[in-house]
Amino acid sequence: MTLHADLRLTLGQLELGIELDLSANETVALVGPNGAGKTTVLRCLAGLSPIDAGRIELDGVVLDEPAVGTWVPAERRSIGVVFQDYLLFPHLNAAENVAFGLRSRGFSRHKALEVSRALLDDLALAGYERSKPRELSGGQAQRVALARALATGPQLLLLDEPFAALDAAARHEIRADFRRRLDSFEGVCLLVIHDPIEALMLADRLLVLEAGTVVQSGSPAEITEHLSSPYVARLVGANLYRGRIRGGMLEVDGGGELHLAQPSGPEGAEAFATIRPQSIALFRERPDGTPRNVWLGTVTKYEHERDRVRVTVGGTVPVVAEITPAALAELQLQPGSEVWVAVKATDVSVHPV
């Protein structure tokens, strides 16, 4: 199953022009600053806004192509949407919310509720069937919204900021659970996420949208390696590691370890760690200060980024550091130079998988 979309649309200040080629079994995240057009892309795909030009084709069926006058209205598209704030119908209980799509598609009330209950049960929401949306926690409401979107068996699943309405404490746990659910979804899945770190953790592929165009796309690793825009550099440009927690450290997959300020998870648990490039210090000589994480690496390249320089250092734990041009000159760094990398344990943020 595939989605091919070429979206052209002018909406006030925004000039949207992007091409999407998505296939099933991959989760793609659309990231970018506010006003970049992320939500507009979802609205066009869902059929809530028509495009001015271009073409949307889902699984071989053209949904929108203004040039030939093809337009499939939203209610006839096989698309599930999880909205920001979820938009669960306040007057219906959880089971009725999930059953809504099936009822609209002609299922009997009895049959629709039966499917709905099974889905809620599957999402660990048994016992909440009769709860009204206002009685659910943020995480529960999110799962009901996901169940509602999945109930009709859509070919395309669109998720608009699925974590924005959750508090930070709830996010960790829910994100991991969510990732598993998305992995088991068989259609095409597109996420809109403002927080790039979250996108890096959830998506197989990222599209960075700025002012209506895709400025960069690739896997999380590719994105963090080649930063092509200030937004990406500032927000996505964190160093991201995956590993296991052991004895107050993160054993990084692929070698190396990072000291953590707090274990932040049970022994042996999988976790992500992020380090902001600004909090990495580089030295020619081994520093004898307090940083807990100190290792020797080799400069592979550096790039000027406005008033900063991004230095890529290879080694057991590869990092990208951001330093001033003055520091670069003082350190006399060249590709191939050996350099000491230092990171304070408190600058390593840990996110459970």
Binding site: A46, G47, L48, P73, A74, E75, R76, R77, I79, G80, V81, F83, L87, F89, P90, H91, L92, F100, G101, R103, S104, R105, R148, T152
Partner: protein, 272 residues
């Protein structure tokens, strides 16, 4: 939603207005409450049950119930689609249409009744055709009393439902559309339940207005006992020759009005 914690809003310095304001406020309160006491004072309490049992009273009560409930039903049937068009569509002259629709709220009811007579009376604009074609004669019939009550009461429903439609978060309707709901399903299963509280309040207000309707009814439908003589008309007539019945009927109306106020207190008196 009930707000009975009077103590929470009392700030020791805020609640001390100038003395002359208190005096005027007290006078205003007495002015509003006094007529009610006048009514209670003259009420023939001992004969009340026998007065309420009279034919003229029962006829008026029954007719008032029929006309006001019918007018409310008609207002909902016609007023909700009208409110939807006013709130959700855009066409030239929409503001003018809204002004005309709401006009009966401020129009003197007698003028409304006269206008109805010229439109739907036997020699009226449409009335002549109605009579010649179908033999329908609205004036001096119960149907006419219902038409008059609907004319003056419907704007109360329209204004309430239109405001509710404007304030509904339309993203819920979009969510319903992405779930495969047709426009009619969206209206029936999402929009209507979401505006239901406002619609109920509008309907109550509309019903109360229809119940109290006097001017348009007496002008358009006349004052025939058992056919068009609703309670307000009966009260007016009884004041001439049967004070006791007039007061008894008035007390019934006061009781009904108070009941509506109590039922809607959360909605109208939810002061901060």
């Amino acid at each position: 939603m009930t707000r009975r914690d009077i103590g929470s809003s009392s700030n020791p310095t805020a609640g001390r207005p100038p003395r002359f304001i208190v005096v005027i406020a007290a006078a205003a309160a007495i002015f509003v409450v006094l007529p009610l006491f006048g009514l209670l004072w003259r009420a023939p309490w001992s004969d009340l049950w026998s007065l309420l049992g009279r034919d003229v009273v029962w006829d008026a009560l029954r007719l008032s119930l029929i006309t006001s409930v019918s007018a409310t039903a008609a207002s909902i049937l016609m007023g909700v689609p009208l409110a939807w068009v006013l709130a959700r569509t855009s066409f030239p002259g929409r503001s003018l249409l809204r002004a005309l629709v709401l006009l009966p709220m401020i129009l003197p009811p007698v003028v409304g009744g006269a206008a109805l007579l010229f439109a739907l009376g036997r020699r009226g604009l449409v009335g002549e055709w109605l009579y010649d074609t179908f033999g329908i004669l609205l004036p001096f019939s119960t149907a006419g009393a219902i038409v008059a009550a609907t004319f003056v009461a419907m704007p109360f429903l329209v204004i309430s439902v239109e405001a509710a439609l404007r304030s509904v978060d339309r993203r819920y309707e979009e969510a319903a559309v992405t779930l495969g709901a047709s426009r009619w399903t969206v209206f029936r299963r999402v929009t209507l339940p979401m505006i239901a509280p406002s619609m109920a309040a509008g309907a109550a207000l509309c019903w109360a207005r229809a119940l109290g309707e006097f001017g348009a009814t007496i002008t358009f439908a006349g004052n025939l006992q058992g056919r068009t003589q609703t309670m307000p008309l009966a009260v007016f007539l009884a004041l001439e020759n049967d004070r006791g019945a007039a007061i008894a009927l008035s007390l019934v109306l006061v009781a009904i009005s108070l009941a509506v106020l109590v039922a809607l207190r959360d909605r109208w008196f939810a002061t901060p």
